[in-house]
């Protein structure tokens, strides 16, 4: 049997996987703070007792595009967008510290500050808890101040400061839950140190950094490529049919 059939099949299958990656990017075009994933293909030589002429394709995700998305004005005081590089540190349900740029925060019944998806927002010393307040303000450096209930508006009380971190980009990866974290081989001994130079904008959210047109074009390109792989498979089939015919006529 001609190995070209299998080569074509591997190409078509890996194209499908890359397409899933692009479709996922496109599906998340409205997700705040979403970072698009790259998809690339690599050639994997076939080893064995034969002439090394064949290479399979292999789709992979070399990483995520960590560039910033556009800022959207929401006017809500507890919506926070990170300006420039860096991340907001939050604690997930497993007690693990992960990073995000999606800063739409809520106050729960106990005064704990949480993301809309439930993760606790980290402050100077653990999760941020706010006392009952009339008004809240998030400063440019992440300092949270409140006017306590019944207090005069000119006496703002500083409560905590958002934990803003800026680990090197090459040390980061996207986890299975969609949050960003340090790669296992780049892990620190202790918690990530906060970066005092970072700035945030209150009243803004960061939109997804997905370029919808680019993703759609990639998808179309991959479907054409897929058709070509199928063509290889049909050609391989025709070839073997032709040789079968020749053998019959002998």
């Amino acid at each position: 049997m001609d190995k070209a059939l299998y080569i074509g099949m591997s190409g078509a299958k890996q194209n499908m996987l890359s397409q899933q990656a692009h479709a996922n990017n496109l599906a998340n075009v409205s997700t705040t703070g979403f970072k698009r994933d790259f998809a690339q293909a690599r050639s994997m030589p076939v080893f064995g007792e034969h002439h090394p002429t064949r290479a399979y394709a292999m789709a992979e995700r070399p990483g995520s595009d960590l560039s910033a998305g556009a800022l959207m004005d929401t006017g809500r005081k507890l919506d926070v967008a990170v300006e420039g590089d860096g991340w907001l540190a939050v604690q997930n349900q497993q007690g693990e510290e992960v990073f995000t740029r999606s800063g739409s925060m809520q106050i729960d019944v106990n005064g704990l500050m949480r993301l809309s998806s439930g993760e606790m927002v980290m402050g100077n010393g653990g999760p941020v808890a706010l006392p009952p307040f009339d008004n809240v303000q998030v400063g440019a450096d992440g300092t949270i101040s409140v006017v306590p209930v019944g207090g005069p508006p000119d006496q703002l009380v500083e409560v905590d400061r958002l934990k803003l971190v800026n680990p090197p980009r090459e040390a980061l990866e996207k986890g299975e839950d969609g949050f960003i974290r340090r790669r296992a081989d780049q892990a620190l001994d202790g918690p990530e140190p906060p970066d005092a130079n970072m700035r945030v904008a209150s009243g803004f959210l960061e939109s997804s950094n997905v370029n919808a047109v680019e993703e759609m074009i990639s998808n179309l390109q991959l479907s054409r490529q897929y058709e070509m792989q199928v063509k290889i498979m049909t050609t391989a089939n025709e070839n073997s049919e032709a040789s079968a015919r020749l053998l019959q006529n002998l």
Binding site: A12, M16, L17, Q19, Q20, A21, H22, A23, N24, N25, L26, A27, N28, V29, S30, T31, T32, F34, D37, M44, F47, E60, R61, P62, G63, T74, G75, S104, Q106, I107, D108, V109, G111, S116, S117, P132, F133, D134, V147, V149, G150, E173, K174, G175, E176, D177, G178, R183, A184, A212, E215, M216, N219, S223, Y226, E227, V230, M233, T234, N237
Partner: protein, 262 residues
């Protein structure tokens, strides 16, 4: 089947939900005391198809794996409790809350609901009721011979009656606040109910302890911004179209393979 088909399907249904949120906001652009919703998107779990750092051969490691996202979902909607414009109506029983806080309404089943809609009227017994006929809590009864009802900024209700020159105090309207108003459950008819997420209501006199003041002769307009909603509508529609494009492209691929092989 092709995984991209399911991923784009999640995109379509999330944009669909977003569209109904937007259309509900737009539909309520004239609803007194309405607070707009915003849909919150979140990416779904990622599947590890090939583990990064896994061994490719005995001597080489895969430098990067293949982790594929499985789509998007709307994890919730958040109500934005920003202040709506106060509109002057000159109706003596129209009330607006200027600042934080909710007025309380006694539902027919004895439960209390909360509202920012202050279009009140009198029923046949002289009780102050909302447009659905549910009484304001605490109940205020206006006597038949009252000529002029005044509601102060602190909620004091007084009226002048025919037989007395001095105004008579009819009661006090109180407001309640919640630590997390976004956790309130909207039950329609401009009413909300307290939930575990919103916390317990904290009652107080208007204007004190962080509560807003009551403004007579005004109502609070909806806080929906039409331009913003229209822009959101356009982006949602385009995102929907592009996701459906992926569905049709994927479908064509499957069609192509069934036509050419087999």
């Amino acid at each position: 089947m092709h995984p991209a088909l399911w991923v784009s399907k999640t995109g379509l249904s999330a944009q669909d939900t977003n569209m109904s949120t937007i259309s509900n906001n737009l539909a309520n652009v004239n609803t007194t005391g309405f607070k707009r919703d915003r849909a919150v998107f979140q990416d779904l779990l990622y599947q590890i198809d090939r583990q990064p750092g896994g061994m490719n051969t005995q001597n080489s490691e895969l430098p990067s794996g293949l982790q594929l996202g499985t789509g998007v979902r709307i994890v919730g909607t958040t109500k934005q409790f920003s202040q709506g414009n106060l509109e002057v109506t000159e109706q003596p029983l129209d009330l607006a809350v200027n600042g934080r806080g909710f007025m309380q309404i006694l539902l027919p089943d004895g439960q209390i609901a909360y509202t920012r809609d202050g279009q009140f009227q009198l029923n046949a017994d002289g009780d102050i009721v909302n447009p659905d006929g549910y009484t304001l809590e605490p109940n205020i009864n206006v006597p038949e011979n009252a000529t002029n009802v005044t509601i102060g900024k602190d909620g004091t209700v007084s009226a002048v009656t025919n037989d007395q020159a001095a105004p008579v105090n009819l009661g006090e309207i109180t407001l309640v606040n919640f630590i997390n108003p976004q956790g309130l459950q909207a039950i329609g008819n401009n009413l909300y109910k307290a939930t575990n997420a919103s916390g317990d209501p904290a009652e107080g006199e208007p204007g004190i302890g962080g509560l807003g003041t009551l403004e007579q002769g005004m109502v609070e307009a909806s806080n929906v911004e039409v331009v913003e909603e229209l822009v959101n509508m356009i982006t949602t529609q385009r995102a929907y179209e592009m996701n459906s494009k992926v569905v049709s492209a994927t479908d064509q691929m499957l069609q192509f393979i069934t036509n050419n092989i087999g």
